[in-house]
C-alpha cells in the first residue's frame, strides 16, 4: 500500500511553522493552526513547505562581500520592451508589445508581457521574463489564497505591497546582474468606487477608481494619477502620452474606449519606430500588442480584430504610413 504522504505535492506533515512534530504522518493534517498565524500569507506557506526561496535569502551581506569581484559588474538595465498604461473614462488601459529579445537577437515575437493576476488586477512587465512570470504566478496565488482563506478580498494597498516585497526579495539577484524586473501594476478599486453624478444627472462609476502604480527594481512603488510607461521604448511613449494628456483635445481621463485603444496603438508604434527591442504593431505578421482594459466589470482583453480595425481606420484618417520615421526599416 502506498503511504498517503505527498500524493498531492504537499507533505502531510505539518508545516515547519506549526512547531510540534507529527505524532503519525497519517493523522497529521498539514498546517491547521499555522494558517492563523500566517494570516493568509501564501509566501509564508510556500516557505514553510520549502517550495519557495526568495533570492535575498541566499545573499547575506557578508557572503556578498567575500565573493564580490574587485570591480562590481556594471548594472545593465535589460528592460528591452515597451509597456504603457493610462487611466481613461472606463477605467485603466494597459498595453505591451510582444517582442522578446536577448541582446540584439529577437527571440520571440508573441510574448505576453501583460499578465492577469486576478479579476481586477494586471501586472505588465519589462525585464527578465523568467523572474517576471514567476512573480506573476506567486502574486496570482497569493491574492487568491488570501481571498479563499480569509474570506475577503485583499485590499489594493495589500496587493501593491505584495509586489513590492517580491521585487525587494529579488534585489540580491539584480545586484549580481540578472533578473531585473520593472513592472507596472494596474487594478480597479471596486470598494472605493462610490460613483459620481454626471452632468445629465445620471449616476456613473468614478473613473478615478482605477489605480495605477509603477515600481523600481528595488520595490519602491509610485502611484500615478494619469499614465505610466516602462521599458526601453518608454521615453517615446511618455512623450506621446504627456503630449496628448496636456496639449491634446482632452485629458486622457476623458477618453472613450476606442480613443484610448487608438492612442495605445499609436504610442506603441511610435516607440517601435526607434526602439529595436519593441515589437510595436506588426501589420504584416498580424501581430498586435496585448491590450487589456480593467473596468468595474473586470478585465477585458481586446481582440486582435478590434485592434486591426482601429489601426486600419486610423491609417486612412491620417492618409499616411504609420510606420512613419525616415529611418524605419519595416
Amino acid at each position: 500500500m502506498i503511504p498517503p504522504t505527498s500524493r498531492l505535492g504537499a507533505s502531510l506533515a505539518p508545516g515547519a511553522s506549526a512547531g510540534a512534530p507529527p505524532i503519525s504522518a497519517a493523522i497529521a493534517l498539514p498546517s491547521t493552526g499555522s494558517a492563523d498565524a500566517q494570516g493568509g500569507d501564501f509566501l509564508a506557506l510556500l516557505q514553510a513547505r520549502g517550495l519557495y526561496h526568495s533570492a535575498g535569502q541566499h545573499f547575506a551581506p557578508s557572503s556578498v562581500n567575500v565573493s564580490a569581484p574587485a570591480a562590481p559588474a556594471p548594472f545593465v538595465p535589460t528592460q528591452a520592451t515597451t509597456i504603457l498604461a493610462f487611466k481613461f473614462a472606463e477605467g485603466v488601459l494597459i498595453a505591451g508589445d510582444r517582442r522578446a529579445t536577448a541582446g540584439n537577437t529577437i527571440v520571440y515575437e508573441r510574448a505576453d508581457k501583460v499578465l492577469e493576476i486576478d479579476r481586477h488586477s494586471v501586472m505588465a512587465i519589462a525585464g527578465v521574463p523568467a523572474t517576471a512570470w514567476e512573480m506573476a504566478r506567486v502574486l496570482e496565488h497569493s491574492f487568491q489564497y488570501y481571498r479563499r482563506t480569509q474570506l475577503q478580498e485583499m485590499s489594493v494597498g495589500g496587493k501593491v505591497r505584495a509586489l513590492s516585497k517580491l521585487l525587494r526579495d529579488n534585489f540580491g539577484l539584480v545586484m549580481q546582474g540578472v533578473g531585473a524586473v520593472v513592472p507596472i501594476f494596474a487594478t480597479y478599486d471596486a470598494a472605493a468606487d462610490h460613483g459620481v453624478t454626471q452632468e445629465n444627472g445620471a449616476r456613473a462609476h468614478d473613473p478615478n477608481s482605477g489605480r495605477l502604480y509603477f515600481y523600481d527594481v528595488m520595490g519602491a512603488n509610485f502611484e500615478v494619477a494619469d499614465f505610466a510607461a516602462t521599458g526601453s521604448g518608454s521615453p517615446a511613449v511618455r512623450g506621446v502620452l504627456y503630449y496628448e494628456d496636456t496639449w491634446g483635445a482632452k485629458p486622457l481621463l476623458a477618453y472613450a474606449r476606442d480613443e484610448a485603444l487608438t492612442l495605445a496603438l499609436k504610442a506603441l508604434d511610435t516607440a517601435a519606430d526607434a526602439d529595436s527591442a519593441t515589437g510595436g504593431v506588426d501589420r504584416h505578421g498580424r501581430i498586435f500588442p496585448i491590450i487589456k482594459i480593467i473596468t468595474r466589470a473586470g478585465i477585458e482583453t481586446i481582440a486582435d480584430e478590434t485592434l486591426a480595425r482601429l489601426f486600419r481606420e486610423h491609417r486612412r484618417a491620417t492618409g499616411g504610413s504609420l510606420s512613419g520615421g525616415s529611418a524605419s526599416n519595416r
Binding site: P4, R7, L8, G9, A10, L12, S24, A26, I27, A28, L29, P30, S31, T32, G33, A35, F42, L45, L46, R49, L51, E116, D118, R119, R137, V138, H141, Q144, Y145, R147, R148, T149, L151, G298, I299
Partner: protein
C-alpha cells in the same frame, strides 16, 4: 479499551452517536447543475457555510466551526500548493479527498482517545464539460460518497448534505425526480429552495411528517425560515471570465426567488 475488541466497537459506536447528535441540527445544503455550471444553496442564520477552495472546487460544510475551519484550510493549502508547484490542471478533488482528507478523518475518528472532527463536508468540482461535475461527500469518519466515477455514463447532477439520514434521503429523492440539469439559474434556485425546505422539515426526528410535505407546506416552511435567516448561494461558473470560477450570488440575482414566494402567497 483498544485491546478488547468489543469495547473498541462500543467506543466507536458511542462516538458515532455523539457526532451524529452534534450534526443533526445542521441546516441542509443543496448543490445542483444548472445551465452554466453548478449552484450551491443553503439557508443560514449565523455563519458562512459555502466556501471557495480553488479555481474549480467549492465546499459546503456542516458541523463545528472550528473543525470545519481546519479541514477547509487543509483543503485550500493542498490545492494551492499543488496548483502553484505544478499547475491548476493538476488539482483534483478526487485525489485530495481520497489521499489526504479521508485517511486523516478516519484516523482521527478511530483514535478514541483523541477528538474526532465534528464535520460533514460536501465538495463540488466543476468538470470540463456539462454533466462532468463531481459532487463528493466526505463524512466525519472518512467515508466518501460521490456522484459516480469519472467514466460513469450516468452521473448524478445533484448532491445534498444534511444533518440526518431521513433528511438527506428525502432531498435526494426529490432532486432525482427533477428532469432538467440544464435549467436556468432562477429555475435551479427555485428547485434548490424547495429541496432545502423539504430537508429542513425532515431534520427534526421527533416531528418527521408521516406523509412528505406538499409544495404548499414547503413554501410555508421556506417563508417562515427566511423571515429569520437568509439565503446563502454561490455558483461555480463554467463560463467565468477568470480561472477562478466561484462566485457568490448577489442580491439582485436572489430577488426574483424571494418575490416568487410572496407572489404565490398573494395568489393563494
Amino acid at each position: 479499551m483498544i485491546e478488547e475488541p468489543f469495547r473498541f466497537v462500543e467506543a466507536i459506536a458511542n462516538r458515532r452517536e455523539y457526532i451524529e447528535s452534534q450534526l443533526a441540527t445542521g441546516s441542509p445544503i443543496v448543490a445542483l447543475d444548472y445551465a452554466d455550471g453548478v449552484l450551491l444553496f443553503t439557508v443560514g442564520r449565523e455563519r458562512q457555510k459555502l466556501f471557495e477552495i480553488y479555481d474549480r472546487i467549492a465546499l459546503g460544510a456542516i458541523g463545528h466551526p472550528g473543525d470545519i475551519e481546519r479541514l477547509r484550510m487543509t483543503a485550500i493549502e493542498l490545492a494551492s500548493t499543488e496548483g502553484f508547484t505544478r499547475s491548476a490542471g493538476d488539482v483534483s478533488l478526487r485525489r485530495m479527498a481520497n489521499y489526504s482528507l479521508s485517511p486523516a478523518l478516519k484516523a482521527a475518528f478511530e483514535q478514541v482517545y483523541g477528538p474526532p472532527y465534528l464535520a460533514r463536508l460536501l465538495f463540488i468540482e466543476l468538470g470540463a464539460a456539462p454533466g462532468q461535475n463531481t459532487f463528493l461527500r466526505v463524512d466525519y469518519d472518512g467515508a466518501i460518497q460521490s456522484n459516480g466515477t469519472s467514466f460513469s455514463p450516468s452521473r448524478l447532477s445533484y448532491a445534498v448534505l444534511s444533518g440526518t439520514r431521513p433528511s438527506t434521503e428525502a432531498m435526494e429523492t426529490m432532486l432525482a425526480r427533477r428532469g432538467d440539469a440544464r435549467a436556468s439559474l432562477q429555475e435551479a434556485l427555485r428547485v434548490a429552495l424547495e429541496a432545502w425546505s423539504l430537508g429542513f422539515c425532515m431534520l427534526d426526528e421527533e416531528k418527521v411528517p408521516e406523509n412528505l410535505p406538499n409544495p404548499e407546506q414547503l413554501r410555508e416552511t421556506a417563508k417562515t425560515q427566511l423571515a429569520q435567516a437568509s439565503i446563502e448561494a454561490a455558483v461555480l461558473e463554467a463560463h467565468a471570465r477568470s480561472h477562478a470560477t466561484y462566485r457568490v450570488l448577489t442580491d439582485p440575482e436572489l430577488q426574483p426567488l424571494l418575490s416568487q414566494l410572496t407572489a404565490a402567497d398573494k395568489n393563494a
